[in-house]
């Protein structure tokens, strides 16, 4: 499925501000595996996701998706196989276009976009059906602009868009961090449903230790650009947030720098 081999990413290479964001990262993800990613600020979590999706190029190593080396492909080509939801609810949708139009753009992912009508009648019904799954009443607001939705509604919609064409890989970059707790819980529940429904291979960054253990099948921890922990199955089940916090201090040699990671 996804194979990351010895990936290193250096920002501002050769300057005084040089920063090694990823150090020789190796990671392998199986079909349908749902990995939660935790770590402090500057650990390299987002950089890792951005390197996989092609926002950043990498300095060494390889990234393989279904045994195909994608590390030289531009971002938009990789997007044909990778669904993404960002932390900022504004980033995932086009605010001045309708819910229906946004879904139509997502629905054509990986296909040729010609001069045929963007939203044929048959698709309209399909989009309504998909939107109804969210249980947010969006199916009755299909012609409304996305700019009129709340952050939570937008994130739910972005999630739907990321999976409307089944991606090989789903990347979630703290996609609930900017939401109210109750809405965040709802979006997380939707995430579980969507991942299960399509059996998606998923990488989810979260700042929330509890969510990291409650969701997914495997958890990895990053610190200063390195993978410092990788647990799954027996090793992971029944573990508490306290245990995870202790592991973090032991393996990173620092205390958690961030209350945000404990709360919620």
């Amino acid at each position: 499925m996804l194979k990351i081999e010895g990936v290193t990413k250096i920002f501002n290479k050769g300057s005084v501000n040089e920063k090694v964001a990823l150090k020789n990262i190796g990671l392998e993800l199986g079909e349908g595996e749902f990995v939660t990613v935790i770590g402090g600020n500057g650990a390299g979590k987002s950089t890792l996701l951005n390197c996989i999706s092609g926002v950043f190029g990498i300095d060494s190593g390889r990234i393989l998706l279904d045994n195909k080396d994608i590390s030289k492909e531009p971002e938009h080509k990789r997007s044909a196989f990778i669904g993404r939801v960002f932390q900022d609810p504004l980033m995932g949708t086009a605010f001045d276009m309708t819910i229906e139009e946004n879904l139509a753009i997502a629905y054509a992912r990986g296909k040729k976009r010609g001069l045929l009508p963007g939203i044929p009648k048959a698709d309209q019904a399909f989009f309504r059906e998909r939107a109804a799954i969210l249980e947010l009443g969006l199916e009755n607001r299909m012609k409304e602009k996305v700019g009129r939705l709340s952050g939570g509604q937008r994130q739910a919609l972005t999630l739907l868009m990321a999976a409307i064409v089944k991606p090989k890989l789903l990347l979630l970059d703290e996609h609930t961090a900017a939401l109210d707790p109750s809405i965040a819980a709802k979006v997380l529940q939707l995430t579980d449903e969507v991942v299960k429904e399509h059996n998606l291979s998923t990488l989810m960054i979260t700042h929330n230790m509890k969510a990291a253990l409650d969701h997914g099948t495997r958890t990895i921890m990053m610190h200063e650009g390195k993978l410092i922990m990788d647990i799954q199955g027996e090793e992971r089940s029944g573990k508490t947030v306290d245990w995870l916090v202790e592991q973090f201090s032991r393996k990173s040699g620092t205390a958690l720098d961030n209350d945000r990671m404990l709360l919620g």
Partner: protein, 310 residues
């Protein structure tokens, strides 16, 4: 008075084509493209030269293609060479000025007057019953055609991502689309329309001048913004029609001002002031709303905002 109105209407219709071009770059790509000032003249230059050669219709077609080419170059400067959009436009504006002179055979202007027997798209109708209205009819027909093609195009699968590019280019790339390409197509069509408008103005006024495009981008922006403020932005059709009506309204405003004794030399200043006011209207509107507490009412008017706080 009617003559004044008819003249404004004719000019407004032709300039509306230019304004639709500006709408594409400014609104759908979110990029104020200064290439417009020169691509307008670029179109007019080809139009004039081809009229003199006896091919007024071909002049419009070539003008459109030339405009597309100019827009494509601006797009490449921005996307491939990573030059800031505003600077790319300025560079094109400057460079095209010399090229426009070359197209015009190193003359600063080309007259197409009836006395010289130069054919334009309007001349075949001279001495017929519709002569007085032919500019209105012909330009109106061309504008309507463009309006419908544009409306269809912007709702196609490709049109949707073109519109989303200005909204959120990151989301467009995440949907598997190369935003460099959507920008290229958008700027090409935008400047193609601008050049076509210039080509029609040249034939309508029977005159092409190398400096006729100066300030054109500001007039285009004024038309777009006046249209939005007065006629709304509810749907795509609404937006396109608003741009057209904005362009016509702008011409009427200018005509009335001239009638009231404004010296023609002040026109560019007035245009600049209109755009400055129009661009800042949003701020004033927010102020008024917060002062009068009419926010809920305003939101209600736009329709069903009730569960936005979820």
């Amino acid at each position: 008075m009617w003559l004044l109105l008819q003249g404004s209407l004719e000019l407004g219709i032709i300039y509306a084509i230019m304004a639709l071009g500006v709408f594409i770059s400014f609104r759908t790509l979110n990029m104020p493209d200064l290439t417009v000032d020169s691509s307008f003249t670029f179109g007019a230059a080809f139009s004039a030269v081809l009229c003199v050669a006896g091919h007024p219709v071909l002049g419009l077609i070539i003008a459109f293609i030339a405009g597309c080419a100019a827009g494509s170059v601006t797009a490449l400067l921005t996307t491939k060479l990573k030059i800031q959009p505003i600077l790319s436009g300025i560079l094109m504006m400057l460079g095209l000025y010399s090229i426009n002179l070359k197209v015009m055979g190193n003359r600063a202007n080309i007259p197409l007057s009836k006395a010289l027997k130069v054919p334009t798209i309007f001349t075949p109708f001279a001495d017929t019953a519709v002569e007085g209205y032919i500019a209105l009819i012909l330009s109106g027909a061309i504008l309507l055609l463009i309006l419908f093609v544009l409306y269809y195009f912007l709702r196609t699968k490709f049109g949707l991502v073109l519109r989303a590019t200005g909204d959120n280019d990151k989301m467009v790339r995440a949907s598997g689309v190369d935003t460099d390409f959507t920008t290229l197509v958008g700027l090409a069509i935008s400047n193609g329309l601008v050049a076509l408008s210039g080509a029609m103005i040249a034939q309508y006024q029977s005159f092409t001048d190398v400096s006729m495009g100066i300030g054109m981008v500001v007039i285009g922006l004024a038309s777009v913004i006046i249209g939005e403020v007065v006629f709304g932005t509810r749907s795509l059709m609404n937006r396109l029609v608003a741009v057209v009506l904005g362009a016509i309204l702008y011409r009427v405003i200018i005509a009335v001002a001239l009638r009231l004794g404004m010296p023609p030399t002040d026109m560019k200043l007035v245009s600049a002031i209109i755009v400055a006011i129009a661009l800042s209207l949003g701020i004033f509107r927010d102020k008024v709303i917060s002062l009068t507490g009419r926010q809920a009412v305003m939101a209600g008017q736009k329709g069903g905002d009730n569960d936005a706080e979820n």
